[in-house]
Structure formats: C-alpha cells, structure tokens
Amino acid sequence: MKRNSKLSTIIALILAMLMLLIFVGCQQSQAPSTDDDANGDEPITLVYQTTSADDVITKVFAEYQKTHQNVSLDVQVVDTDNFNTKVMSQISTNTLPDFFWWNASNSVGNFGTGALLDLSSYIDEKNFVEGTFTSSKTSNGELTLFPAEMQIQGFLINTRLFKELGLDIPETYDDLIKAAKVFRDNGKFLFGNGAADTWDTWGWYFWLELNGYLDEIDEIYVDGTKKPSESKLAETMYKFAELREAGAFSDSASTVTYEIAKTSLLAENCGIITTSTDWLAGILDSEQAINGDFQYWFGVTFPDSNADQNVCVKTCGNGYCVSADIEQAKLDAILDFFDYFYSQEGCDIALQQGMVLPVEGYESSVEVTPLVESIVSLTTDNSRTPIATVGSLTLAAVDGNTDIWIDNALAVDNMICGLIAGTITKDEIPDYMANYDAVVAKMISDYHNIVGE
C-alpha cells in the first residue's frame, strides 16, 4: 500500500514537473532568435509578416534575391481581420517579426511602446513625394515605417455607362442628383458603396474637404470656437441625406461592404464607387479598366464653397515597420532591400502588382493599363494641392494624442454610413450633430487638461 502511495506521488511529481517544463518551454519559444551572425555572405533569413502571401514585398524580394542569394524571406501570413490583434499581442510579448506591413495610424499610436524602430536616420524624406509621411510620423518627428503605396482618395467612374445612359460626367452636386434619378430609372444606382464597412468613406471625406470643412478644422478642434453642428460638416451631412432620398445608393446599402460595391461596379449595376487607389485589386485587370472605361475621378466640385477645389487627398497610410529588437546584420539587409524596393526596378515590379510607390520623380518604364497610368501620374502630379485626411488633421489638432482623440475618430464615419444606409434620416441629423458637438467639446477639454491650460 505504502509502495503504491509512493508510486502515485512520484507520478504526480513527474506530471507537475512536465507541466512546468511546458510553460518554461512556451516562454523560451517566444524569445527572439539570435541564430544569425550575418556578415558578408553569411545566410540571413528575414521574418516578414503580412496579410497576403502574394503581397508586393514578396514579389519585389524574389527579384532582389537573384542578386542577394544569402538573404531569404520567411513570410508569415496573418488574415486581415486578425492582423492588428496579432501585432498588438506580439508587441506585448516582445515577439515581433523582423519587419511587417502595418497601418500608419497604428504604428504611430503604438510607437510609444518602444517596440518599433525609429527609421528617421535611414529614410531621406526628400526622395519621396510631398505628404508621404504625414500619417506615419510621430509628433516628435520619428518615422514609424517605410512607406508603401501612396493612396489617392477619390472615385472610380464607369464613363462608358454614363454615355450609354445619355449622361455627361457630373460636375456639380446638382448633376449628381439628376444622374442618380436616371440610374434609378434604368434599374441601377449611382453609387455602389454602402455602410457595412465603416472605413470605405474616402470620397465622402474628400467632399467634406471641397465643401470647406478643412478650413474650419482649427476653429472646431483646436479653439472650440465653432461647433461641428454649425460647420460645413453639418451642411455636407444634409447633402448625403438628399442623395439618399434621390436614390443614389442601393436600397440595401446597410449591408453592402466595399467588396460588394466593387462587384457592383464590375457588374455595371452602379456607375461610381468611392475608393482609394490602393484598394483596386480585381479592378485594375478588369475588362473595363483595360478598355479605358474606368477612370479615376475626383468627383464633383462645390462652386459655392470658398475652399480650393483643385486639391487631392494624398496619403501614405500603410507601410513596413521594423522591430526595435532587430539585429544589426538583419537591419543592414532590410535597409539594402528597401534601397532596391524604391529603385526604378523595384518601383516597376510594384507597379505591375498595382502598387504605386510614392517615390519622387518616378516614371513607369513598364506597360500598364490606362487606369494604372493615371494613378502613377496622379501620385507624382504636384499641380493639385496635396492634403491629408481629416483623421490625421484632427489628430494633429490634439498633438497626435490618440488617447483623447479616439472617441472622435469614428464618429463622423458612422454618421456618413448611417445617412447612406438610411438609418439616419434628414430630420435626425441635428440630434447626431449635437452628440458629435459633445464628443468634440470633451476632446478639447481633455486636451487642455493634459497640456495644463
């Protein structure tokens, strides 16, 4: 009996030890690898994390590797929905890959954790198009990422469809209302975008800007001398409601995602979608794009507005962050790769994948569709005044302090989506604007508390 009890005690001890070993093992497996001591031709493996196995970095890297055979890329793919959560956990547990794709607002928001490398000593801003780093630079001037594509925000329009319906390309807001009715009469709708994704609001923000909202940013968000409900923001909201009433959006807009909007455009159920130039996968190689039916368009102008109508929202909202814990040999390899990435050859490969890199003076030397060509010229065209997104400008109003800005961040997106979906009616706009007034007032007061004014 005593022997049995000893035996079971020993088994219990072994089990407990095993358990501890498993936990210790888990901890050790998370530690960053230090196997590379690369110099010269020593093999180096760079760990790169992204949302797609076929992303541009992997394509450019394949070419780069032909002349740098000692450097290889270990691509870790994480699906888009879980990407931010995964990176955040990696930051918390100090297990970031060597470099990874990320959104600029997240890289700036999390730069304070010390997990990301400041790239300001490695990037010469003059080599890039004006405005490239507006979203990815911290208030202290640190650069949080290597820039990916320049996003130009506007609309994609099917010019042939307009012709077939006997319509000219709309120039004013009133033209849009008329076009909306013609599309409806023909069993189609003017705008494909819906409200299921709250982020595909690019062109609508562009309207806010053309309508003069940006000129009021300081009064609204810095001084607090003007309420949003008394600004051009409110005025533009009424325009969305009028468009909805005119039948410009699908009746089921509340469940229409950006992907559905794209499908509607390709199926020619709608004439226009608002989009950013980096979200055109599946459209760039479509029949309509090859035939030149699709054109990138800045939408209508607002003649009554005092704001400059010849502007363009250019922003580089994504890029490639580098882990702060990276070894020197790996960092050297990454820097060398990005030199190649932004070279003529690298830019051309990226362009063939549909990505226009914001490199100053870049001219394509590969054959592309008229649509892609127009995106290249828009990226490098300085005749339009480049402006940043409303999000980054309002964030700048509180010195990049996301802690107090966050409640304001998605409020306007939600209002626009509600109006498009018809969930918010014209009569309800004053209530929603009053709520937004309160959100902004709180943000300003919190900011003043922080800076001690």
């Binding site: 005593k2 009890s5 000893k6 079971s8 005690t9 219990a12 001890l13 089990l15 407990a16 095993l18 358990m19 936990f23 931010n84 959560t85 955040m88 930051i91 918390s92 997240n106 928001g109 999390n110 304070g112 954790t113 997990a115 409200a195 299921a196 994704d197 709250t198 699908s250 009746d251 089921s252 509340s254 469940t255 229409v256 996301t402 802690d403 966050i406 409640d407 961040a409 998605l410 939600n414 209002m415 989506c417 509600g418 979906a421 969930t423 918010i424 709520n435």
Partner: protein, 289 residues
C-alpha cells in the same frame, strides 16, 4: 503534513489543472477587471481612472441599445428554443426510425456561428437575399430583415434557434430516455390526458435537463457574437450591436482597451448573475442544483 500523505498527492495531481485554470481563466478575468478601471488606448501604459469607464458606459446610448438587442436575442432564443427543442426531442424519442431527421436537425449545430451567419446573410439580405426576392416576385414589398433599425436582433434570434435547436433537442432526448417508463404508464392508467401527462409527469421528470438547456441558452444569448457579426457587423451606426460585438468593436477596432474591458466585465457579471439567479429560482429547497 507528510510529503507522501494523500492530501499532498491529491494536490499534486490537481496542480496541472489548477495552473491551467489560473493562467487561462483567473488571470485573464482579474486582468480584465483591473483594465476596466484604467484608461488604456492601444498598447501604451494605461492609468487608473476609477469608475470613469463604467460611468461613461452607463451614459453610452450604444451600450443600452446593445443591451436591449442582447436581451431580445436571449429572451427570444429561450422562449422559442426550449419548447421547440422539447417537441423535436419528443419526436426523436418516438419508437420508429428517424435517423435522418435526427441528423438533419443536429447538422446546423456542427457549423460555426460564422458559417451560420454567412449562410443566413444570403437569405436575409434586403438586396440580394432569397427571402426578399421571393417576396418581390410575388409582388410584395421587400423587408429589411437585417441592416435596418429594428429587425436585426429578431433575425439573429432566428439564426441562433435554427443553429442550436438540434443540440438542445438531443439534450431533451437524453432526458426522455432516462425517464422511468412506469410513470407515464401509471398516469395513463389513472386517465391523465396528453396535456396532463406533459405538465405533471414529463416536464417534472426532465426538470434538470430543462435547467441545463435553459442555462446554456441564457449564457449563449448574453455572449451572442458570431451570427450578428456576420449578418451586419453590429451596424449600421451600431444599431444592431450586441454586448459582445460592441465590446469587440471597442477593443479591437477602436483599441480602447479600458472601455472594452468595462463592457466585458458587465457581460461577465450579467452571465454569472443571471445564471446563478436562474438556478436559485428553479431549485427548490432539498433539490440538488
């Protein structure tokens, strides 16, 4: 206490489970409760704000809307699912062959909530959905089953019932199988009709099964997430948020971890409190809960 004593052995054998329970249950719960008292945006260090997140939460219109939607889904699934599962379970208990019926009824439960939501979004969408296309082909007006201001939580209830009724029917079937047959025979001899047999014999005999089933539905309803996420994502303008979708949105879209943690704590309190209250109310003195 001697090292070879029974108590030590028992403790040692339980240690792996205790460690796993502490690391994966107790620590996250405690951490969430602590975070709910801080202002923490993204991964920067948070600071203590006391009850501020809770005060903001109780003033938040969307939170109350999410609570209302969650209540509709929880009560709706309870009211529909229990009697439906009882009926299906009793049908399964019939002496003739019904293997296909059992399989078909149980099959939706094998699907994930995401898949169920996706399938139903193709049926319920007001634009391309099958239901509306049928209505329109008969000359009727389409209905905004999902995505409008009101119907989404009711549609989500329907999806939940469709998905889980098979599972609860099997629970009821197990209850029926363990029922002493002589009780029903005795009731028959005593001249009890079908309704009397149901209310005075069958239901009291499977009371424990009903309690287990109802508690699972209650907790599932309060934590309801996947189906609504797939149907509408909580939109438009947060009209169809449930407590869990709104907590997820706050934590992983806005990255306001403190506020999201406050919401998660409320969900925990609700699920725990309502389950305990339900079990207390349905357990008579002397019964084993």
């Amino acid at each position: 206490m001697h090292i070879y004593s029974k108590v030590w052995r028992r403790l040692l054998l339980c240690l792996p489970v205790i460690i796993i329970f502490c690391v994966y249950m107790i620590y996250p719960i405690c951490n969430t409760i602590y975070t709910s008292f801080t202002r923490q945006i993204m991964l920067r260090p948070g600071w203590w704000v006391g009850f501020e997140n809770y005060i903001t939460l109780f003033k938040d219109e969307v939170f109350w809307r999410a609570l209302k939607n969650t209540a509709i889904i929880t009560i709706g699934t309870l009211v529909l699912q229990l009697p439906l599962a009882y009926l299906i379970g009793s049908f399964m208990n019939r002496p003739y062959k019904n293997g296909v019926f059992k399989t078909v009824t149980f099959m939706p439960y094998i699907l994930s909530g995401i898949m169920a939501g996706l399938i139903w979004s193709f049926l319920l969408d007001s634009g391309f959905g099958l239901f509306n296309n049928i209505l329109i082909s008969f000359g009727a007006e389409g209905i905004e089953w999902i995505g409008g201001k009101t119907l989404t939580p009711y549609s989500a209830t329907l999806v939940c019932v469709w998905q889980s009724v098979g599972y609860h029917s099997v629970l009821f079937l197990a209850g029926f199988k363990t029922m002493p047959k002589n009780l029903l025979e005795a009731a028959n001899i005593d001249g009890a009709n079908a309704l009397q047999r149901t209310f005075y014999v069958t239901i009291p005999s499977i009371k424990e099964t009903i309690k287990v089933s109802a508690t699972a539905i209650l907790i599932g309803g309060i934590n309801h997430y996947q189906q609504t996420l797939m149907l509408t994502g909580g939109g438009p303008v947060h009209y169809s948020e449930t407590l869990s979708t709104y907590a997820y949105y706050t934590q992983f879209t806005v990255f306001n971890f403190g506020y999201g943690a406050a919401m998660a704590t409320i969900i925990l309190i609700l699920a725990l409190g309502l389950s305990i209250a339900f079990l207390k109310l349905t357990t008579k003195k002397g019964d084993t809960a």
